[in-house]
C-alpha cells in the first residue's frame, strides 16, 4: 500500500479514530481473558459501568483513581518527550509520599494551608530526588533508565519497608505504618464537600487533590509546549544529534526531564497521604506508577489525552473492583493484564491499522473534494 501523506490526514483521524480502534481491539482481547478465566465478559462490562457510574460513591472512587493516574501518566509523558522511559513512577511516588509525611509532621506548628503547600513541595522534591540518580547515570554513563528505574522501584520498596518497620513505625500498632497526621492537616474530602449540599455519603477517598491534578496537567502543557525548556527537551528527545548541533545540552535536559517526571509521580503521595490514608501505609503506590505508562501512551503523551485516558483507567479500576467483588474468578490482577494489553495495542502496535485507517479517510476526503 502506498504510504499516506501525513499532512493530509485530518487531526481527528490520527488522534481520535486510531486510538479508539486500538482501544477497542485491546478491550476485545481483554474480554477473551475474562472468558478464559471462566466468567462472562458482557456481565463484566455491565458491572464495570455500574460500579464506576451507577452510584455517587462509586463515581467518586472513579475520580479518585483518575487523580492518581493523571499524576503518574503526566510523569511518564514528560520523560517520554525526552525519549526517556521512566518506569520508576512507582518508587518515585513511594518516596514522594515519604516527603509529604515528613514535611507535614515536622512543620505541624505552621498554619494549615502553608503546611499543604510545603508538603506538596516535599512530594515533588523527594520524588525528583529519587529520579535524579537514574537520570544522572543515564546522562553521564548511558545506563539505561528502564533498568535503573526498575531497580530503584525495588530499592524504594525495601527502603520504605525498612523505615516503616524499624524507624518510623507507629509503635502502638502492629502493622507497618506510621502514626496518623493531625486531623486538621487532612485534605478536605468529597464527603465534606457533599455535606455542604446536604448530600450524605458514607466515605469517599476523593479529595481536593483532584484540583491539583488539573493544575498539574495545565502546568505540564505549558512547560512542555510553551516554554523554551520544553522545546529543548523535545528537541533532545526527537533528534539528539540535531539538538547538540543547535547548542542544546542533552545532559542537562535528560536530568531536568527525569526530575520533573519524578516530581509529578511524587504528587501521588499527596493524594494518598494528605487525602486518603493520612499516614504512610506499606505499599501505598499499589501499581499506580505502572498504570501511568498505559495512561500516557493511550493519551498520546499530551495532557488533553492523558486526562480522559486517566478517567478511563479510573472506570476500569473502580468498575474492576466491583467485578472482583461479584465474580469470584476475577482478581484485581486481571486488570493489570488489561493494562498490558492496552499498552500493547495503543503503544507498541499502534501502527497495526494506522496506515489503512488513514488512507481510508484521506481517500474519502479526496473523493468529496473532487465531487
Amino acid at each position: 500500500m502506498a504510504p499516506v501523506d501525513k499532512s493530509k490526514v485530518p487531526w481527528w483521524v490520527s488522534n481520535l479514530i486510531v486510538p479508539l480502534v486500538n482501544l477497542t481491539l485491546a478491550l476485545l482481547v481483554s474480554g477473551l481473558f475474562i472468558f478464559i478465566a471462566g466468567e462472562n465478559p458482557y456481565e463484566a462490562v455491565r458491572l464495570i459501568i455500574y460500579g464506576s457510574f451507577g452510584y455517587i460513591e462509586g463515581f467518586a472512587y472513579t475520580l479518585y483513581y483518575t487523580t492518581n493516574f493523571v499524576f503518574t501518566g503526566l510523569a511518564f509523558a514528560v520523560a517520554f518527550h525526552c525519549r526517556l522511559f521512566n518506569i520508576g513512577g512507582e518508587g518515585q511516588a513511594y518516596i514522594g509520599g515519604l516527603g509529604v509525611f515528613l514535611v507535614a509532621i515536622n512543620f505541624s506548628f505552621l498554619p494549615v494551608p502553608i503546611i499543604w503547600l510545603l508538603s506538596i513541595a516535599g512530594a515533588v522534591v523527594f520524588g525528583a530526588a529519587w529520579a535524579f540518580i537514574p537520570a544522572y547515570l543515564q546522562a553521564t554513563r548511558g545506563s539505561h533508565v528502564v533498568i535503573t528505574t526498575i531497580m530503584f522501584n525495588f530499592i524504594a520498596a525495601s527502603l520504605m519497608v525498612f523505615l516503616l518497620v524499624d524507624v518510623i513505625r507507629d509503635t502502638a500498632q502492629m502493622g507497618p505504618h506510621t502514626i496518623a497526621l493531625p486531623e486538621e492537616q487532612w485534605f478536605p474530602s468529597f464527603k465534606d464537600f457533599a455535606a455542604l449540599f446536604g448530600i450524605k455519603i458514607r466515605y469517599s477517598p476523593l479529595n481536593i487533590s483532584f484540583l491539583l491534578a488539573i493544575a498539574a496537567s495545565v502546568f505540564v502543557w505549558f512547560l512542555v509546549w510553551k516554554t523554551r525548556w520544553g522545546y529543548e527537551m523535545r528537541a533532545v528527545g526527537h533528534n539528539t544529534q540535531a539538538a547538540i548541533y543547535a547548542g542544546i545540552s542533552p545532559y542537562k535536559n535528560i536530568i531536568i526531564a527525569m526530575c520533573i517526571s519524578g516530581g509529578l509521580a511524587g504528587l501521588l503521595g499527596v493524594n494518598e497521604i494528605l487525602g486518603v490514608h493520612h499516614k504512610i501505609v506499606a505499599g501505598f503506590p499499589a501499581g499506580y506508577g505502572f498504570t501511568g505508562i498505559a495512561v500516557a501512551l493511550m493519551g498520546r503523551n499530551h495532557p488533553i489525552g492523558i486526562f480522559p485516558a486517566a478517567f478511563l483507567f479510573g472506570i476500569l479500576y473502580q468498575g474492576g473492583s466491583e467485578v472482583t467483588f461479584d465474580m469470584p474468578n476475577i482478581t484485581r490482577y486481571m486488570f493489570v493484564a488489561v493494562q498490558g494489553v492496552i499498552i500493547l495495542f495503543s503503544g507498541a502496535l499502534e501502527n497495526l491499522f494506522r496506515p489503512q485507517i488513514e488512507s481510508f479517510f484521506v481517500n474519502r476526503l479526496n473523493m468529496k473534494a473532487n465531487a
Partner: protein, 323 residues
C-alpha cells in the same frame, strides 16, 4: 572444617541462584545481538514459570511442562517481533507491555483456576525436576578437597543448573564461530549491509527471537518446577532485569555475561547468608536493606565503573527496507 563447608555451600548456592540469570542473559544476547532490545526477559521468565508449573501439574510430567513453557515463551518472543520488527513499534514499549501483561495474566489465571491467591498447586515428585546426583558422588564424599568440590559443590543440582553452564560455550560457539552467528551479529550492527548481501534482516531477527524464547523458558521452568514446587505471584522478582544488566555489563558476550551472572548469584547467596547474622562492628543489618543489595549492585554495575558498555550499533531501531 566449618569454614570450608561454609564456603562450599556458598559456592553451591551461587551456582544454583545464578542458573536462571545465565539462561536469561544468554537469551538476551541472541535478541540484542540481532538488534532487538529485550526488556521482556522478566515477563517471559514469569510466563515460563507459570506455564511449566500448570502444564506439569495437569500432564504429570515436568518435561511436558517445560515443552509448553518453551512454546509460550517463543510465542511471546514472536509477539515482540511482530510489534517491533514487522510493525516497527517501539521496542521498549512492546517489552513493557509484555511484562505488565504477564504479571497480571499469570496471577489472574492462577487465582481463577486454583483459587489460592495466585498460587498454583504444589507439584509432587513425579511432576517436578529432582536433584541430579553425579556418579560416584557418594563414594567420593570423604576424599578431602576433591570430595568437597565434586560431591558438595558440583553434584546434587537440578538438571537446569548443568544445562545453564553448558549453554554458555554453546552460545559462544553459535554466536562467534558459525555463519549464522556472523549474520546475527551483522544484523545487529549494520542491517542495511546485511540486506545488501541478500540476507533477510526480518527473518534473522525472528530466528534470534525464537532462540531467545527457548532459552528463557528454561529459566522459568527452573524457578517453578525445580527449586520451587509451584508458581507464585511475581516469582521472577526482577531476575530478568538483573540478567539484562549482567549481559550489558558483560558487553553482550557470553563469557563475561556468565561472570556477571555468577557475581549476582554470589551476592544473592551472600545476602541470604547475612540475614540475621551479627557482623563485627556493624551489628545485624536489617533484612530489608540486605535484600536490596542485588538491586543496588545492578545499578552500580550498570553505571559501568569498569568501563562503558557499547551496545550493538543498530539496537532498538526497527529496520526499514528502502523502496
Amino acid at each position: 572444617m566449618e569454614f570450608l563447608s561454609d564456603i562450599a555451600s556458598l559456592i553451591n548456592s551461587t551456582l544454583r541462584i545464578s542458573t536462571p540469570l545465565v539462561f536469561a542473559a544468554m537469551a538476551g544476547i541472541f535478541a540484542e545481538r540481532s538488534g532487538v532490545i529485550d526488556f521482556s526477559l522478566e515477563g517471559k521468565m514469569l510466563m515460563a514459570a507459570f506455564v511449566a508449573a500448570v502444564g506439569s501439574y495437569f500432564l504429570g510430567n515436568p518435561w511436558l511442562g517445560l515443552l509448553l513453557a518453551i512454546i509460550a515463551c517463543v510465542s511471546l518472543s514472536m509477539l515482540h517481533g511482530f510489534a517491533s520488527v514487522t510493525y516497527k513499534g517501539d521496542q521498549v514499549v512492546s517489552c513493557v507491555a509484555i511484562n505488565i501483561l504477564i504479571i497480571g495474566l499469570t496471577t489472574a489465571l492462577a487465582a481463577a483456576w486454583f483459587g489460592q491467591a495466585g498460587l498454583t498447586p504444589t507439584l509432587n515428585e513425579d511432576q517436578r525436576f529432582l536433584e541430579v546426583n553425579l556418579p560416584f558422588a557418594e563414594s567420593l564424599k570423604d576424599v578431602p578437597i576433591v570430595g568437597t568440590i565434586y560431591s558438595d559443590i558440583l553434584s546434587g543440582h537440578y538438571i537446569f543448573v548443568y544445562l545453564a553452564y553448558l549453554s554458555v560455550p554453546l552460545v559462544f560457539w553459535v554466536v562467534f564461530k558459525t555463519s549464522f552467528g556472523l549474520r546475527l551479529r551483522a544484523v545487529g550492527e549494520n542491517p542495511s549491509a546485511v540486506d545488501t548481501a541478500g540476507i533477510n534482516v526480518f527473518a534473522m531477527r525472528y530466528k534470534a527471537l525464537a532462540i531467545n524464547g527457548v532459552l528463557i523458558a528454561f529459566a522459568g521452568a527452573h524457578l517453578s518446577t525445580a527449586v520451587n514446587a509451584n508458581f507464585f505471584r511475581e516469582m521472577s522478582a526482577g531476575r530478568g532485569y538483573l540478567a539484562l544488566a549482567a549481559m550489558i555489563f558483560g558487553k553482550w558476550h557470553p563469557k563475561t555475561a556468565l561472570i556477571a551472572c555468577l557475581l549476582f548469584g554470589f551476592t544473592d547467596a551472600l545476602q541470604i547468608r547475612l540475614q540475621g547474622v551479627e557482623l563485627p562492628a556493624i551489628g545485624e543489618i536489617p533484612v530489608q536493606l540486605i535484600q536490596a543489595i542485588p538491586y543496588v549492585l545492578t545499578v552500580v554495575l550498570l553505571a559501568g565503573f569498569v568501563g562503558k558498555a557499547i551496545a550493538p550499533n543498530a539496537i532498538g531501531q526497527p529496520y526499514i527496507k528502502e523502496r
